[in-house]
Every structure is written in C-alpha cells, then in structure tokens.
Symmetry: C2
Subunit: 213 residues, 2 copies
C-alpha cells in the first residue's frame, strides 16, 4: 500500500522502530487491538502524540475501536521496509566488527551479512559465523559482483573516512557507521550513525538528575 | 547553577547530546555566538524547536544576540552531568565488551572504566587496555569496595537478566545495556538501552524511501 509521504520528520521516523517493537510484543502476547491511550501508556507517549505520528503515514486507527495490533505492526514493517532485502558487508573485523557480525537483529530487519573486510593479514581468511573475512583490496570487486548495497563501518576512527570513500567509489549508497565520526559523503549516500556517545550522555543525565533529588 | 527541572520529556533530553556535540564543534572552530536560526540549520531542527528545548532548562539566548556558544555548551555539559564522575564496570568481556572497553567516549562523558567481568576462565586474568578481566563471582565485592555505580552489560541476550539481577543486588543503580532485551529491574534503577535494532530499522526505512522515488 503506497501512501503519499512528503516530508516526515526524522523524529517521527526514529519513533517507528519503537512502535514496531512494542506492537510485535503485543502480537506475541495475543493482544488483537489497543487504544491510542493504552498504547501511549506502554510506550510512555501521549495518546495524541501517537495519533499524530501515525497520521503522518495515513492513520490507521478507528474511532471507538483503537488500532488493530497485527495490522498496524505489519503496516509499520512495510513503512520501515523490513520486508525488503539489503545485502551488507562489515568493514573492520576487530572486536566491534566481530560483535556486530554476531548481532541477531539483522534478519528481522531485512539485512543479510555477506562478508567482512579487514587490512589485518591475521584476520583475513578466517570466518565468523560462516562469514568470511576478506582483504579490503577485494572489497570493490565483491560489492559489484554480489550487489552489496550496505556498508557497515566498524574500523577505528582514523580509518573510517578512507573506508567510506572506498565504499562510495565502489557504488555503495548506504552506510551504517559505528565509528565516532561524522563521515563526509555525497548527498545521495545515506549514513546512519550509531551514536554511543549520545546514549552515554543520556545515562549521565539520568544519573545526575536522580542524584540531585 | 540549579534550575527548577520538573518533567522534561525524554525527547528533549535525547536531543541534548546533539546540542552538546555541535556546540563543542563550534567552540573548536572559534565560533563565539550563534542565532537559533543558524544553529537550527546546522542541526536540522527549526529555530523555534531549539528555543523551546532550551527554554525547558531556563533558556539561554538573548533576543537579537543569539546564544553564546561556549556558555551554552558548558551549561549543557552541566545539565547532562558530564563533569560528574561515574565509575563503571563491563560485564561480558567477549568481542562486544572488549570493543566497548576500547571506546574513547567514556572520558568525555565523566565515566571511568574500572574493571571487566566474565564467566569464561580463558578471559579471566587478562587485561584490555589496562582494564583487568575478573571472575564474575568477584563482582559484588568489587562493586562495594570500589564504589562502582554503573554496570555495562555486554553479555549475550540469555545472560543479561541474570547479570542485571546480580548488579542490582550488589547495589548498582544505573545500567548501560547493550543486550537486545528489556531488563526487569526495580523502579529506582536507571537503564539506558543501546538500541541497535532501532538504528538498523531507521537505515532500512531511509533505503526503502529513497528506492521508492
């Protein structure tokens, strides 16, 4: 189902995975419908926030009935594109890269990990969960041949811009970036940064707030 | 400077680290003041959003002058509690735990890593960047003795609730949780989850959106 999607704010988009996660849990628990008020209570949002967010995508609730849990979950999966396939590679096969290779969330989001790349000859040739670590010089050829569309950067900060440049040159249009740096890429390349520092600062805030009371 | 902080929404709090990060960059570039309009352009927010957010903490701008960049950065650091000390331990010294131990962002956020714990006898006894990996049975004693107040959970999903229980029993009141599971803890324990799946779903959305155009 295609809906006109003009300029939906990133704040709304960033809330969608949370909707999806809680709706999936409700489906698992056998809940079939839920009011925006009750759903808001679970999520910690107001009912009007929820109605407003979901209205951005055409609205799904019915007055006096609420939301059909399974339908809404499937619709959000559809909006998020979780049913599409994205073939990905990891660049940087050190601790972080290996930890991400073990990450169980890829499948549920439509991502499939196809290979890992590193410059370290001691890592090249070994496999992590059936995913082979290859030499980074083989990367461009592999991207083209295997039609990879996502690069996951797990290198140290110093190497990340160089890796991004090589990915872009090889035709990659989407990057999941774990290095704590803002990558410089052409405008048509999507970069999603995993901002550990932001999460850590929120934790600092919450501790600080509590200790002041 | 203490300000009355009643119920500031988590959405506002989650934006503060971004303010802090961009203000730090502006300070480094030698920028001394900035209008809410220009600041909004850099951040991708509207000027009124920025004024509204910062008003939650008492407001800092001056009509016709804008914000003093360094003052605002320092004030946000203060609000975030980045100048406080939080001593932390990592539980789970596998790939993820070791990657987090190497994470450079601890110091800038007031966190200090004091030890790592694991159940794997092959890991216990070795050190990662001068941080010793100890047996998890020594954890409760260490927390008490070294006055640790933050536990960072890097165990596989299956072990994380058990670890959280042990942390809470040992008196820990704040957890940075990397395991992809909602931890069940008493109401006075802060849990900040690193939601990799949410970040990955946002990436899926952005790819899906672009490919539809």
């Amino acid at each position: 189902m295609e809906k006109p999607q003009t300029s939906i704010s990133m704040s709304v988009i960033r809330r969608l995975p949370k909707y999806y996660r809680y709706l999936s849990e409700l489906v698992e628990k056998g809940v079939t419908r839920i009011s925006s008020k009750e759903f808001g209570r679970i999520l910690g949002f107001t009912a009007s926030q929820i109605r407003q967010d979901l209205n951005c995508f055409g609205g799904f609730g019915q007055q006096g009935y609420g939301y059909n849990v399974k339908e809404l979950r499937d619709e959000i999966a559809n909006i998020l594109g979780l049913n599409k396939n994205n073939d990905a590679i990891i660049i940087g096969a050190g601790n972080l890269g290996q930890a991400i290779a073990n990450y169980s969330g890829f499948r549920g989001s439509g991502f499939l990990l196809k290979a890992m790349f590193d410059i370290n000859p001691r890592l090249v040739g070994i496999s992590i969960r059936d995913i082979k670590i290859m030499d980074i010089d083989e990367m461009a050829g592999f991207i083209e041949e295997a039609k990879i569309n996502v690069g996951i950067i797990c290198t140290p900060k110093e190497g990340s811009q160089g890796v991004a440049d090589r990915l872009v040159k090889a035709g990659i249009k989407a990057i999941w970036n774990f290095s704590p740096t803002d990558l410089n890429v052409p405008g048509d390349v999507i970069v999603e940064n995993v901002q550990l520092s932001e999460s850590l600062m929120v934790l600092a805030y919450l501790i600080n707030e509590r200790d002041r009371i």
